[in-house]
C-alpha cells in the first residue's frame, strides 16, 4: 500500500485539532480500499453486466428520449444506483462490523466528537460511492457514447446522492445489532427503492398510478436529477429534484447527528 502514500500528503500537515477526524476518515478509506475487489471492482462488474444484458435485450424495443439510445439512457441510472448502494454499504457495513466485532469501543474511547464522527464516516462513504460511479462511467464509455450536457448537475446529484446514502448507512449501522438486520435493511429498503426509482426506465412509461407512486420515492429524484445532467432531459425539473434530495439529506443528517449525540445504541 506504499503507493497510496502520496494520497495522504496531509499526514504530516494536519494539526492536532483535526487529526482525529482526519485519521478516522483515512482509516475508513483504507478499510474499503484493502478489499477493493469486493468494494469497488465487483459493483463495477455488476453494473456492466446489467448494462450489457439490458441494452442487448431492450435497445431496439425501448425509446426513452429522442436521440438518446436506451444503452446511453441506462448508463447514468446504473452509475447512480451503484453510487447510492456503495455509499450506503460503506458506512453501514463498517459500523455494523465494528459493533459486532466489538472494536468500535476503541473509537468511542477517543475525544472524536459526534460531528467529526459523522463527517469522517460520511466522507469515506461518499468517496467510495463516487469512485464506483465514476469507474462505471469510464468503462461504459468503451461501449457507448454518453453526453454530459450539464456537468454541474451531474456533480451536484452525485455529491448529494452519495451524502444521502452515506448518512442513511450511518443511521442503519447504528441501529442494526446484527448482520441479519442490516441485510434486511439493504434488501427490503435500499434495493426496492433504487430499482423502483427509474434506473431502467423513464417513469413516463409507467401507468399514471405508478408514476405518482414513483414520485414519492426520494431515490427517483436523485436518479432523475443526475440523468438530467447528462441529457438535459428529465421526468421532473432538476430544481425540484434538488429541493427534494437536499431536504431529505438535511433531515437524515439531523436525525443521524441526534442519534450520535444521544449515544443511541453506542453508549448505552
Amino acid at each position: 500500500m506504499k503507493w497510496l502514500s502520496p494520497f495522504f500528503w496531509l499526514d504530516d500537515k494536519v494539526s492536532p485539532r483535526w487529526r482525529g477526524v482526519y485519521t478516522l476518515f483515512k482509516k475508513e478509506l483504507l478499510r474499503f480500499w484493502r478489499v477493493a475487489f469486493q468494494t469497488i471492482a465487483s459493483p463495477i462488474l455488476t453494473a456492466l453486466l446489467y448494462l450489457l444484458i439490458f441494452s442487448h435485450v431492450l435497445e431496439s424495443h425501448v425509446k426513452v428520449y429522442d436521440q438518446v439510445s436506451y444503452t446511453a439512457f441506462l448508463v447514468p441510472g446504473l452509475m447512480m444506483m451503484s453510487l447510492l448502494q456503495n455509499a450506503f454499504a460503506n458506512s453501514s457495513s463498517s459500523l455494523i462490523q465494528s459493533k459486532v466485532m466489538g472494536n468500535i469501543v476503541f473509537l468511542l474511547l477517543t475525544p472524536i466528537n459526534t460531528l467529526e464522527f459523522f463527517v469522517a464516516f460520511l466522507a469515506a462513504s461518499m468517496i467510495r460511492g463516487l469512485l464506483v460511479g465514476l469507474s462505471i462511467y469510464l468503462v461504459a464509455l468503451c461501449f457507448v457514447s454518453v453526453p454530459t450536457v450539464y456537468p454541474g448537475w451531474i456533480f451536484a446529484f452525485a455529491l448529494l446522492g452519495s451524502a444521502l446514502l452515506g448518512t442513511f448507512g450511518i443511521i442503519a449501522g447504528i441501529w442494526a445489532d446484527k448482520f441479519d438486520q442490516m441485510a434486511a435493511f439493504q434488501n427490503f429498503v435500499i434495493m426496492p427503492l433504487t430499482f423502483l426509482s427509474g434506473v431502467f426506465y423513464s417513469i413516463h412509461s409507467l401507468p399514471p398510478f405508478w408514476q405518482a407512486v414513483s414520485q414519492l420515492n426520494p431515490f427517483f429524484y436523485m436518479i432523475d436529477g443526475f440523468r438530467y445532467g447528462f441529457f438535459g432531459h428529465g421526468d421532473v425539473s432538476p430544481w425540484l429534484s434538488l429541493a427534494v434530495v437536499g431536504s431529505f439529506l438535511l433531515a437524515l443528517a439531523w436525525l443521524c447527528l441526534k442519534m450520535l449525540k444521544s449515544g443511541y445504541k453506542l453508549r448505552s
Binding site: G102, L109, T110
Partner: protein, 304 residues
C-alpha cells in the same frame, strides 16, 4: 494537583437494577490501584462510566480534573482503557492500528516513537506487520493493551488484562506496566488474580453490590482484616482454651487464626501446659484473598 480520578456520588441504574449505589473514590496521580469485587459488583459499570461508554444516573467523575461529561474530550485524552473482551479490527496490522488509535487522539507522526516503544515493551515487535486477525489469543491481548496505550495516557485502566494469559506474558506485561507506573502513569487494575493485586498495588478498593466496602492501602487491609494463620498437626486434642481461635478443624489438623504474631507464644505455652505435642507447624501470612472472602464473599469461587 488534580486527582487522577475523582468519583463523586456515582449511581447507575439499568431500569430497576441498581448497578452502582453511591460510589465515591479518589485515586491520586501515580498510584497503582486495584479495584476488586465479585462478578456483578459493578466494577465494569464503573469503568464504562469512566470511559464515557455509559452515562451515570447521578454523580460526577473527573479524570485529571476534567469532567467526563462536560469536558469529555480532555477527560478521554487523559484515559487509556484496556477492554476485557478481545476486540480487534480485522482490516489492519498492529502498527497501523496503533498509529490510527494515536491519531484519533490528535497524535501524528511525532508519536510514532512512542508507538514503537509500546510495541517493543509488549513483545509485539515480530508481529508489528501482522494483521490483527492472524494474531494468537495472547498476541491479540498484547495488541489490545498496546492500543489503549497508543496515545500515552496519564491514567491507564486495565480491566482484567491477565484473564487467560500465560505466565510469560503476565510477567512481561507487569514489568511494562510497572515501568509506566514508575514514569508517573496512574494505573487502575481489576483482576481475577488477587495475588497480582497484592504484589502490585499500593491501594485496593473492594466492591460489593454496587458499593465500595473496603478502601485502604493493601498493607493496612491485610493488617486490619486478615489474621495470620497457624496450622498445626497435634498429637492430642486441642485444649479448650484455644478453641476461640479455631478456624478449621480436620482430625488432628487444626488451623488457628491469630490477630497478631505475639499470640504464637501464647498458643505454644497453652499446648505445652496441656501436654499436647506438636507434630507439624506452619505459620502463614494472610493474603488478600482472605480479606476478600471476609469482606465480599460467601461464595466459593473468588472472582475479582
Amino acid at each position: 494537583m488534580a486527582a487522577a480520578i475523582e468519583i463523586t456520588g456515582i449511581t447507575k441504574r439499568f431500569g430497576e437494577f441498581e448497578a452502582l449505589r453511591g460510589v465515591d473514590l479518589r485515586i491520586e496521580q501515580g498510584e497503582f490501584f486495584a479495584l476488586l469485587g465479585p462478578n456483578g459488583a459493578g466494577k465494569s459499570t464503573l469503568i464504562n462510566l469512566l470511559a464515557g461508554l455509559l452515562q451515570p444516573t447521578s454523580g460526577s467523575i473527573r479524570i485529571m480534573g476534567h469532567d467526563v461529561q462536560t469536558d469529555y474530550q480532555r477527560a478521554r485524552s487523559a484515559l487509556g482503557v484496556v477492554p476485557q473482551e478481545l476486540v480487534f479490527d480485522p482490516f489492519f496490522n498492529v502498527r497501523e492500528m496503533l498509529r490510527f488509535q494515536a491519531g484519533y487522539f490528535g497524535h501524528g507522526p511525532e508519536n510514532d516513537g512512542w508507538v514503537d516503544e509500546v510495541i517493543e515493551g509488549l513483545g509485539l515487535t515480530d508481529k508489528a506487520h501482522t494483521n490483527m486477525r492472524k494474531l494468537s489469543g495472547g498476541m491479540k491481548r498484547r495488541a489490545l493493551i498496546a492500543q489503549a496505550l497508543a496515545h500515552k495516557p496519564p491514567v491507564i485502566v486495565l480491566d482484567e488484562p491477565t484473564a487467560g494469559v500465560d505466565v510469560e506474558l503476565r510477567q512481561m506485561l507487569w514489568a511494562f506496566i510497572q515501568k509506566l507506573n514508575q514514569q508517573g502513569h496512574t494505573i487502575i487494575l481489576t483482576t481475577h488474580y488477587l495475588e497480582e493485586a497484592e504484589t502490585l498495588c499500593e491501594r485496593v478498593a473492594m466492591m460489593k453490590q454496587g458499593k465500595i466496602v473496603a478502601l485502604d492501602t493493601t498493607r493496612a487491609l491485610l493488617k486490619s482484616h486478615a489474621a495470620k494463620q497457624l496450622s498445626l498437626r497435634l498429637a492430642g486434642a486441642l485444649p479448650e482454651q484455644l478453641s476461640p481461635l479455631l478456624k478449621q478443624h480436620n482430625g488432628d489438623d487444626v488451623v488457628l487464626a491469630l490477630s497478631e504474631l505475639s499470640q504464637v507464644e501464647m498458643v505454644l505455652s497453652v499446648l505445652r501446659e496441656a501436654g499436647v505435642a506438636i507434630v507439624d507447624m506452619q505459620l502463614q501470612e494472610a493474603d488478600l484473598e482472605d480479606v476478600f472472602m471476609r469482606l465480599v464473599g460467601n461464595q466459593k469461587g473468588v472472582h475479582a
